[in-house]
């Protein structure tokens, strides 16, 4: 069943798009990542113009994050105070990221930059997570504890704040910086940034795994909404029809993802996410090194 997408200006299979949204939504609910790091490349692979894929993918993440965040709020696994601190940094980072996006687009290097950022971030984070979660699984089996205390330098920083849900009393500077980094990535990669946020919360901030996912989803709602809006204004690249189809698939998938995630233990969850992140990174790295089918590419002003 074909449907015409008015902004992407293409005819697409509605069932395939629903399935795509559902699969990404499922992962979103399960891992607390927006799923944008999968959705954006998949949409581009399907033939959606990259700016439209980035702008529209963000809207699907908004919906699935809201659905997921409500489910987590009911379970009391959202640290709102931490969420707002991360968000404050995220907005600042997003503004910077959008300026960088426009600059690289003028240079004609945005595609390469997006791919490189994806490969580097997904590769490093996936590798670290895999290593840590495998160690944690081993430690659990031996009955030991996998988690240590805080880094010493963390306690030397000023502007300390108490985050009761996370059982933390730390400076607001590290979460602000993490938020900023995620904001930059959200703007450039068209992702919510959960795949950076979740590991950063676990390994840098040492938040308990059970509040990490909900808090990540909570701040992703606002980061993606902000960036989607900027893309709608600056690039007219948000396809309402495509967004609607992806959302319908996504919200259903997200709800099931949350339930599935609740049944998995922390270390298994992290190992699965790590595997997924590494796969996407490997795929993108392969594309960078492999000789493209055509060395020449067209971009046209006035279209899209």
């Amino acid at each position: 069943m074909q449907i015409y997408l008015p902004i992407a200006e293409m005819s697409a299979n509605i069932l395939l798009l629903l399935g795509l949204g559902g699969a990404v939504g499922f992962l979103s609910g399960m891992f607390g990542v927006g799923g944008g790091f999968l959705l954006t490349p998949l949409l581009i692979f399907y033939g959606v113009p990259p700016p439209v894929a980035v702008g529209t993918g963000l809207n699907q993440i908004i919906a699935s994050s809201i659905s997921g965040a409500i489910a987590h709020t009911r379970r009391g696994s959202v640290d709102f105070r931490m969420g707002f601190v991360l968000l404050a940094g995220g907005i600042v980072g997003s503004v910077f990221g959008i300026l960088l996006f426009d600059y690289l687009q003028r240079l004609g290097q945005i595609d390469l930059f997006i791919s490189l950022v994806y490969v580097v971030f997904l590769g490093v984070i996936g590798g670290l997570m895999m290593w840590e979660s495998v160690n944690a699984l081993r430690a659990e089996r031996r009955g030991g504890r996998g988690r240590g205390g805080h880094h010493a330098w963390f306690h030397a920083l000023p502007f300390k704040m108490r985050f009761r849900r996370s059982k933390l009393y730390i400076s607001v500077i590290p979460p602000l910086l993490i938020g900023m980094l995620v904001g930059v990535l959200a703007a450039i990669m068209g992702v919510g940034g959960g795949f950076v946020m979740v590991p950063a919360m676990i390994y840098l901030l040492r938040m308990p795994t059970n509040v990490v996912v909900g808090t990540s989803l909570f701040q992703i709602i606002f980061i993606t909404a902000f960036n989607s809006y900027m893309h709608a204004i600056n690039h007219q690249a948000v396809d309402g029809v495509l967004a609607l189809i992806l959302i319908v698939g996504g919200v259903v998938g997200a709800e099931f993802g949350v339930r599935a995630g609740a049944k998995l233990i922390g270390a298994q969850l992290r190992a699965l996410l790590a595997l997924l992140v590494l796969l996407v990174s490997g795929r993108l790295a392969f594309d960078l090194f492999a000789t493209p089918a055509d060395l020449y590419d067209l971009t046209s002003a006035g279209l899209g």
């Binding site: 015409y4 008015p6 809207n59 709800e255 067209l298 971009t299």
Partner: protein, 263 residues
């Protein structure tokens, strides 16, 4: 459906032509389309326009040697062609050439291969045939922008036509014009990714490689209904459109959560 309508119109118009063209003008061609406005709706997956016409010649004996060539151009925009090169193992956009506005859509149909109809210089002069579109780099483009070599722009020009052909937006259909005495007809394919805007066409009546007469026509491709509303809103009121889409996404997120909560 469109074809049946077109053939009815064809018959009607031919009758009209036969009556109107009584004091035969020497070497003239007349053309019309089955549709002058293509509406893109939610179920649009591409379509075809029937193009039909007739020609008159003051030399009826050699009528069978007349050729009909049809050229259609979509709205033109500047196009930048970038070339990737391997740098430190990965492929990077190194060089780029921007060309003067080029048609976003190009279709040429003829009753036999173009090179049998006319010489290369003539085809090039009139821009008949995708390989004779002659893209021109915008002023100020230097050979160093394209990398080294005296024919540096050549591969970029070829890549432009090649990539557009792969997208299905540059098409050639030699032999697709059906000639029957002094009547002709052909189909103009409109793919799903055809850009919206005004399309201009020309029908050439040719003989021995010369153009005897040419007749222009045009048609419009535009979105309609909801598709048009969304497109216009996104481009004319992006501040409002952005908010609407976000609100919609948020509302759906809430609704889905509530709906799935009732177990």
């Amino acid at each position: 459906m469109g074809t049946a309508r077109g053939i009815a119109a064809l018959a009607a118009s031919l009758l009209g032509v036969a009556l109107a063209a009584a004091p035969a003008r020497a070497d003239s061609v007349l053309v019309d389309l089955s549709e002058h406005a293509i509406a893109i709706t939610s179920s649009f997956t591409g379509t075809q326009i029937l193009c039909y016409g007739t020609f008159e010649s003051d030399d009826p004996i050699i009528t069978t040697r007349h050729d009909i060539v049809l050229v259609v151009r979509g709205p033109s925009y500047p196009i930048t062609v970038r070339k990737k090169e391997r740098v430190a193992g990965i492929f990077v956009n190194r060089h780029a050439v921007t060309f003067e506005p080029m048609p976003s859509y190009y279709f040429v149909a003829s009753n036999r291969p173009l090179l049998e109809i006319a010489s290369r210089p003539r085809l090039r002069r009139h821009g008949i045939g995708a390989e004779f579109l002659n893209p021109r780099p915008v002023s100020g483009t230097s050979v160093s922008d394209a990398g080294a070599g005296p024919l540096a722009f050549r591969p970029y020009e070829e890549a432009l036509v090649r990539r557009k052909s792969e997208e299905g937006l540059y098409m050639e259909a030699s032999g697709s014009v059906i000639l029957r005495a002094n009547l002709f007809h052909t189909q103009i394919p409109i793919p799903a990714n055809a850009p919206v805007g005004n399309y201009d066409g020309t029908v050439y009546l040719m003989q021995d490689g010369r153009i005897l007469d040419a007749q222009t026509f045009s048609f419009q491709i535009d979105k309609t209904g909801l598709e048009r509303t969304i497109y216009r809103l996104a481009h004319d009121l992006p501040y409002l459109y952005g908010l609407i889409v976000i609100a919609l996404a948020a509302a759906l997120g809430f609704v889905a959560n509530l709906a799935l909560r009732q177990r």
